[in-house]
């Protein structure tokens, strides 16, 4: 792969999907071409989907080495979670 075609991460929202979901990555020379490539590779052009492309280098990820200090403090504190309420049946997607 030539250095001039950087990596892009692709997020897609389906016609009735609520969120953009990370579906994969691809190489493209710029954002416009990344969008078009993402359409071909990941959506088969079914109308009504939304695509986001992000240069991979723009994403900052949490480090696996820091997993414990990062996430564990919340693991044993049940009072951090608002789980003591009855959720009404007619409230979806909560």
């Amino acid at each position: 792969m030539s250095a001039s075609w950087p990596l892009w991460e692709v997020f897609v929202r389906g016609k009735r999907g609520l969120n953009h979901v990370h579906v994969g990555s691809l190489h493209a020379p710029d954002a416009e071409m990344a969008l078009r490539n993402a359409r071909d590779v990941y959506t088969r052009r079914n109308e009504g989907v939304s695509i986001w492309v992000v240069p991979a280098e723009a994403i900052t990820a949490s480090s696996p080495d820091e997993k414990d200090p990062f996430f564990e403090p919340s693991g044993d504190k049940v009072y951090r979670h608002p789980t003591f309420y009855a959720i009404p049946d007619d409230v979806p997607h909560l």
Partner: protein
Amino acid sequence: MSFDNAYEGLIDQEDSHWAFGTGFHSALEGVDREVPPGVDPADLAAYCLMLGDDALVLSQRLAEWCSRAPELEEDIALANIALDLLGQARLLLTRAGEVEGAGRDEDALAYLRDEREFRNVRLSEIDCGPGPGGDFATTIVRLLVFSSWKVAQFSRLRGSADPVVAAIAAKGLKELAYHRDHAAQWAVRLGDGTEESHRRMTAAVDRVWPFVDELFRTHPVEARLGGVAVDPAELRSEVDGVLDAVFTAATLTRPEPVPTAFVAGQAGRDGVHTEAMGFLVAEMQHLHRSLPGAVW
């Protein structure tokens, strides 16, 4: 809705297939397939063959790029465009066969006609690469010209008096608009890219342009099918406008070449093709000719 599976939120409805394979419907669902009153079935069949052969032959040409495009993503894009065109060809050849009423289906029309019976414009058959016949730039210029012409043609055909042609045009127009956009993007990138890519684009334009004139010549079948067909002469100014805009952005100039000659007034629409066509047809039809009557 949980998102344990990355694709769960993307699927439209109950479907066992992987994401996005849902929600498709046939472009011809519920469309009346009777030949409209006052339309000559032979002319309508001939016209559908012209349109279908344009798409079939260019699809075959683009398929030759499989695994040979400059980048993986572009390989997929060219295959995608080829598949769109093949889909258009299937609908149009099926329509030609049913209107003709001689029992020929899309396969019979694709695989059991000789070179002289094909009605595509010569632009779609010439070898624009990969290989010695051209390169990526040549393929892009051909695609740009072809899709700009087809967008103009199909946008008018949506109002065709033949409901099947109108429905095929409505479906195909969205695809062709994408093809044109894709080709235009590349034309600008390559034309306004490096010195070498600009040189190749200039050579590509010179190679393709002699076949442009034929696109706007009115065939007698088109002249007789007023209301059903589009007179290609009417498309010229719209197509020129699109190409001018792309060429300006791509820092290219349009040549004024001598159009490729007709033979006794005949060209692709009459079954008079370039020397490339026989080889293309031979390769495309080889298996069907070797195993006649085989089902796949």
